[in-house]
Amino acid sequence: MSTVTRASRRDFLKIAGTTAGGLFIGFNWFSCDSPKVEVLSTEEILSQAKNFSSYLSISPTGDVVIYSPNPELGQNIKTSFPMVVAEELDADWEKVRVVQANLDTEKYDRQLTGGSGAMPHSWERLRTAGATAKYVLVAAAAKTWNVPAEEITVEKGIISHKGSGKSGHFGEFVASAATMTAPEQLTFKDKKDFKIIGTPVKNVDAKEMYTGQPLYGLDFYREGMLHAMIQRAPFGMKIKSVDDAAARAVTGVQEVVTFGNSVAVVGSSTWPLMKAKKLLRIEYEPEGKVESSADHDRIFKELLASGKAEVRRKDGNVDAAFKNAAKVVSAEYQCPFLAHSPMEPENFFAHVKGDKCELIGPTQTPDRARQSAAQILGIPAENITVEITRLGGGFGRRLRADYVEEAVEVSRAMNAPVKVTWSREDELTGGAYRPAVRYKFEAALDESGNMTAYKLRGVGMNAGNTTREHNFPSGAVDNVLIESVNYESSITTNAWRAPITNFLAYAEQSFLDEVALEAGKDPVQFRLDLLQRAKTNPVGELGYDVDRMIGVVQAAKEKSNWGKNPNVKQGFSVYFSHRSYVAQVADIAMEGGTPTLKKITAVTDCGMVINPIGANHQVRGGIVDGMGHAMYGNLTFENGVPKQKNYDTYRLIRMKEVPEIETHFLTTDFDPTGLGEPALPPTGGSIANAIFAATGRRLRSQPFIEQKEFSDIKLDIRRA
């Protein structure tokens, strides 16, 4: 079925020719219910070049350039976005060139990477871009050939009219297309006719990445640019005094700049600054709470017991249900702080020039970078340009603009172009982290093992709401109480891939496993029974689609041969986050007396899969990430300073620690949703539940390897 969009009066899309005869299609994403075309003269285009360099251009030679607005950090948006445009355009993918767009809030909206939200947000907009371009090209061909547009077909960038035998490539019609008017209504392609979407398309930056071409922020160099490295204060401390004599004496150090509670060493290359930074003698004094991990453990326990909680959801009468329960199950789960640790450390280039500023580097939120710079400099945001480089990972770290602000500060102080580079030690000690959190779960069971009440209380740090109160099992239980308590920590925290759910899902899915076993039920059937209840007789608000969740649970049960092989102990987990559904089964076999994690089977419903290569990448990568941090990730504090300062003590998962991961995607007709995050949350749960099934040890805290329940378990990993 084709989708039709209705035109609004607002200015959305502009079409124009250029002096070179090319076709440009420009968007104002802000006002974009649907397209309205404005045809401009060449002079107007040139005078509005900024507004018009734009989203899509087709040259007279038929080459198509598609600008990708959102920052690329490995989620593959730079390949998948243009695929959607090219699909509706019926372009020849071989002739498409993709260019990373700079920040432009007039042309693009939601020009950021976070929340797995880019594809669901832009799906229709991208289709509109491609379909509009095709419409005007076809109209131009129809006019040139004097044939009805309806009789014209387009395939791989070639426009053809069967009746007259005429055909030509896009480029032959761009000049004429620029004089056409886009339709008030637009018809999208039927999904069954897709030729690019749903096919494996390789990464558009592959060649550059594999030959070492400059792509990333850290690769940006400019003649005359200064380098800076920065010593930041421990959390909760401020600078008392700075002795920079020894640092200044290092050959290659040009200046030492103090701003706020940071001290920057500045010079013409990186290495002398690394040495000089270690020679800074800085005395700090407490400014606020100076925290250690032991404080956090104590605070969690206190606040779980007595903290003033925000009630997030209340169904029925929980107290009565627990009073009448045949059995009560209760458990607490806790996770530590984590660093984001993208492989490319934080860095940014800034050049402050009077009331103007140029910013270049890796950011998930280019507009936040710009706004932050504007605030520091006291200049209008429109005086600031932001060029987005490829990001060597992000995981949420680059949603923050702290390292951009540093570059701006140092550039202003030095009156010169400056690139700030963080070391790995800076990255691990400089914030901002996935905060620690502790949950208490309680379930009431009746005599038949039905869950009659469910209670969850979460205590988080700077986390706001630590729960997802309308997620499963809410809706499936008569009596529910979900509460959240927040503690304000002086340690800077930030969204970390699948915020909150990256741990909540593990805790919840492990606890439901505990409840199922106490109820004497198969863990999968237990969930299916609850889901059936939520479907036929839901309680209160549901934040998830019950049928889609049942879909992935059933499929994972089948694909994993759940419960069929007595020699394989299995752990189940399912979670809905960021609009997608993922169910997982982890398989552990006892081999020579050793529990061996052999495989994780994952079933995903993310609607239509745009690019199977990218989808596989995101699901497997999310699982590896979830497993690595559940197993090993731990950042602890002493007096406001992390103890783990590099990868020798802050352990990341490696090649030999990943099992086979089998991925399946449900074929559904839903519009595509994002995949950067949803596969991660269920992972800890599937593995922990399998470990319990195999060993009888219940892991209620992360990282697993540091729990006493795990200390004598030698978990082997069987690779594919």
Binding site: A206, T211, M343, G393, I613, I653
Partner: protein
């Protein structure tokens, strides 16, 4: 400061730096060869892997004073047109997510396959275990190394 003569990717270079300057920073800051990546700086992640006389080496902990007349090869010099069997396998398998660690992974794989042209999967895992990929592309790295071994 001292003057060092280096041979990188078959070309001779002269740089004036302190003798403890790691090869990594000479490549990046002084020679403009930014394909070799900085990530941990302490020989833990492998993003900075280069070949010195054919052996894979962490350039982040290799002082320039220790390089001497050795033959240094970086990702930019691994092949003329990006057509080294390992690079081709990486493209074929479409290994990368963010891509930042991949130059180091490729350099490690290329040196490994030179010393062990017909590795078992276990040997591949052992060899590649010293390079971290934060995106978790390990399955694809393994697949690409095996493919490169087959197609070389």
């Amino acid at each position: 400061m001292a003057t060092f003569n280096l041979k990188v990717n078959g070309k001779n270079h002269q740089v004036d730096v302190e003798d403890d300057t790691p090869l990594l920073w000479v490549l990046r800051d002084h020679l403009g060869l930014v394909g070799t990546k900085f990530s941990c700086g302490v020989a833990q992640c492998g993003a900075c892997t280069v070949h010195i006389n054919g052996n894979s080496t962490f350039s982040c902990v290799t002082p320039i004073s220790s390089v001497g007349n050795s033959e240094v090869i970086t990702i930019e010099g691994l092949s003329e047109d990006g057509d080294h069997p390992v690079q081709k396998a990486w493209e074929e398998v479409d290994v990368a997510q963010c891509g930042y660690c991949q130059a180091g992974q490729i350099m490690q794989a290329a040196a490994f396959l030179k010393s062990n042209p017909n590795p078992s999967m276990d040997e591949i895992d052992n060899a590649m275990n010293r390079n971290i990929c934060r995106c978790g592309t390990y399955h694809k790295i393994r697949e690409a190394v095996a493919l490169a071994a087959k197609t070389k």
